[in-house]
């Protein structure tokens, strides 16, 4: 018996030892995994941050420094020079105003248009509703090149070339925003609308005072999309705007791209300036943006 016991004891000892041996590498494995993960993440971090860093390097250095070998990796002292040169070339304040005005106004109006459309498509039943919604979605597949010339002709016939209105108008009804908002509106409890109706609220009142306030995250997400679209919009403003003082930021920046000579100091400075408003806009709406995206994903 004693022998047997001993054997059992031994075997249990062995077991625990074996277990311990198994456990130890598990821990180090976990650690290894973490190390590996963080290395990978830091590589991604560097890869995604570097272009922005390079942009900043370019903005603070003389154009010729961008072409040295090995490359210049430290910020230089040409920040003010590049800024003044850029201002002389494109008139920063005017261009910044144009872009902010066009994008801001666009977001306000397009949001009103898209939210109403999305609300109707989500909460009302009428004949042809599905057809209209599909048509909206399908219109996303038309390449802009196909609409460019007819739209341009239209604007020209209306005598609207070189106006802010011409830049904003064609995209006011933005199918993707309508889609995004509709998906969110679908989740709004219809009972709430019905009880409001019983209390005597008009349909407009229900929309504006009850539905809209509870849809803030979705609206924020949509407005970021709309803002980005308009802020980065290049081809259309280029085509309809005919004087330098009406140019938006991307168009003005592109005008720096000549044939054989490009001052990269100015270009990088311009790109830096153009990035700031987007980052600011995103950071202020970030919380709503992410919850809005998740919201539409979870339903």
């Amino acid at each position: 018996m004693a022998k047997n016991l001993e054997v059992i004891e031994q075997s249990t000892n062995e077991l625990t030892l074996a277990e311990r041996q198994q456990k130890k590498p598990k821990k180090t494995k976990k650690k290894l995994k973490a190390v590996w993960m963080y290395t990978l993440l830091s590589i991604f971090l560097v890869v995604s941050i570097f272009p922005f860093y390079w942009m900043f390097i370019g903005a603070t250095n003389d154009s010729s420094k961008m072409f040295t070998n090995p490359p210049t990796l430290l910020p230089g002292d040409q920040f003010m020079t590049n800024l003044t040169n850029l201002n002389e070339s494109i008139g920063i304040f005017r261009v910044l105003f144009n872009s902010l005005f066009v994008s801001g106004l666009y977001v306000v109006i397009a949001l009103a248009v898209c939210a109403s459309a999305a609300y109707v498509l989500a909460k009302y039943n009428f004949k042809g509703k599905k057809f209209i919604f599909t048509a909206f979605l399908l219109s996303m597949m038309i390449p802009y090149q196909a609409t460019l010339i007819p739209l341009f002709q239209m604007m020209s016939d209306f005598n609207l070339l070189n106006t802010y209105f011409a830049v904003i108008a064609p995209q006011l009804c933005f199918p993707f925003a309508i889609f995004l908002l509709r998906q969110n509106f679908l989740a709004f409890p219809t009972e709430l609308m019905e009880s409001a109706r019983l209390d005597g609220a008009s349909e407009t009142r229900i929309f504006i005072s009850i539905v809209i306030p509870s849809m803030r995250p979705a609206l924020a997400a949509a407005s970021i999309f709309l803002f980005m679209t308009q802020w980065n919009n290049f081809m259309w403003p280029l085509v309809v705007l005919n004087t330098n003082d009406m140019y938006t930021f991307p168009v003005a920046l592109s005008s720096l791209m000549g044939l054989s000579y490009i001052d990269y100091g100015q270009v990088m400075m311009g790109v830096t300036l153009a990035t700031v408003p987007i980052i600011a806009f995103f950071l202020t709406l970030q919380k709503q943006f992410i919850s809005g995206m998740l919201g539409s994903a979870l339903k």
């Binding site: 010729s64 072409f67 106004l105 341009f152 209105f165 005919n242 005008s255 000549g258 000579y261």
Partner: protein, 423 residues
């Protein structure tokens, strides 16, 4: 209800604001008979403005509005406007040499016939390759502006280190030999090429031999003897390891100013880029003409250059013509173009001090004189309206050859494809 009225009134105010903006911007443009609008890209803007200042001395009411935009942006806007039937176009537009015939073919009546307005009288003041480029059925449709006479830009420091004399390079064979010596002595490449992206060297060599993607009858000529010879030179350079792959314009410039390659055959306009982006390399540069294919052969060629055209839709075409005639033939205006690195094609100024002077950046070599002497020998060639497709196919052939395909075969395949594409 408050919120509703608030929103509605806000929208109303905004739309009124919009309408106000709209009116003020369009109102100014219509009916100004003394105002001429021009589209051009960066380095050309000061030249236009200088010309306007001088033109104003005799035409005090004259007003020029230059809309500055990127080179490609000019074409995007011009093409859109022309396709929409001549809407929203300027009175003057700058178009590169390789695009001119494309526009003239695709939009036959879209540009003003300047011969009708009397420009033929000034024809002799410009090299024949320029005036022929702008001609269709014997009439000219644009004003020659800058040219791209070619030369081999080279680094004197690298040549010295290798003990090679650039002046001794007379033929492409000499050029290859020099490249081998440089490679051996300094371990540097002779030339930067983007074999899968651009065919600038090939185009220069074609033009030098008096032909192009298309021959004198405007037929596809990728399999011509000239074309094969050009590809052979390029392939030998590649096989001997004398080529540094530079993908895109920026890599090419940076290889040049960084001293990684010894030479860059290119158009005169490269001067502007290397002097701006390689400020520290002043004095380390020299220039020779393109090497010939055989001893004593033609060494003049062209790469790039641009021209001004007047769209027929211009409401102010007569004034635009008067201004452009002044612009094109006024010597002071054309000399001012050189400050930005543009090479004027007006040949009455080539004896000016600006051309004969020694250039410090180029080791006091009078490079402008060298380039000017080339101008009348540059053969006129056909870009046709299919330049872009042809270039695409030529680059494909070049890339295939670099990857080991036989020259004859690659060019033949490209020629077949090109014929199919442009039918």
């Amino acid at each position: 209800m408050k919120k509703v009225t608030g929103l509605v009134s806000m929208l109303l105010v905004l739309s009124m604001f919009l309408a106000a903006c709209g009116n003020s911007e369009t109102g100014g443009e219509a009916g100004d008979s003394n105002k001429v609008t021009a589209w051009a890209w960066n380095i050309n803007v000061p030249v236009l403005e200088e010309a306007a200042k001088k033109f104003k001395e005799e035409n005090p009411d004259f007003e020029l509005e230059v809309v500055e935009m990127g080179t490609d942006d000019v074409y995007s806007k011009l093409t859109t406007g022309l396709q929409a039937g001549g809407k929203g176009l300027p009175d003057i537009v700058l178009v590169e040499d390789d695009r001119v015939q494309g526009y003239m073919n695709a939009f036959p009546d879209a540009f003003v016939n300047v011969s009708d307005k009397g420009f033929d009288e000034m024809k002799d003041s410009f090299p024949s390759y320029k005036t022929e480029l702008l001609s269709k059925d014997g009439a000219m449709y644009g004003f020659p502006f800058d040219g791209g006479p070619t030369g081999v830009f080279y680094r004197t420091d690298i040549f010295e280190e290798a003990g090679v004399k650039a002046e001794d390079i007379k033929t492409w064979d000499d050029y290859i030999e020099a490249g081998k010596t440089i490679k051996e002595k300094t371990d540097k490449a002779m030339i930067g090429l983007d074999l899968n992206g651009d065919d600038g060297l090939y185009r220069m060599m074609l033009n030098q031999q008096g032909t192009f993607y298309f021959n004198e009858d405007k037929d596809v000529a990728l399999t011509s003897e000239e074309s094969k010879q050009a590809m052979e030179v390029q392939q030998t350079l590649n096989e001997e390891g004398l080529v540094k792959e530079t993908v895109g314009w920026d890599a090419w410039i940076s290889a040049m100013v960084g001293g990684d390659v010894a030479t860059a055959p290119s158009g005169a306009w490269l001067y502007g880029s290397i002097t701006q982006q390689g400020k520290d390399t002043s004095g380390n540069w020299g220039m020779i003409q393109l090497p010939a294919f055989e001893e004593g052969g033609n060494r003049a060629s062209n790469l790039g250059g641009s021209n001004y055209m007047i769209p027929s839709a211009s409401a102010n075409a007569d004034l635009a013509y008067d201004f452009m005639e002044f612009f094109s033939t006024n010597e002071d205006v054309q000399l001012s173009a050189m400050e930005g690195g543009l090479f004027p094609s007006l040949n009455t100024i080539y004896d000016n001090e600006a051309f004969t002077k020694e250039v410090e950046f180029f080791n006091n070599q009078p490079i402008w004189n060298l380039l000017a002497s080339e101008m009348e020998n540059i053969p006129a060639v056909n870009y046709t309206g299919d330049y872009a497709v042809a270039k695409d196919e030529a680059v494909k052939a070049q890339s295939e050859i670099a990857n080991g395909k036989a020259i004859d075969e690659a060019l033949k395949a490209s020629e077949e494809r090109l014929k199919n594409r442009i039918q």
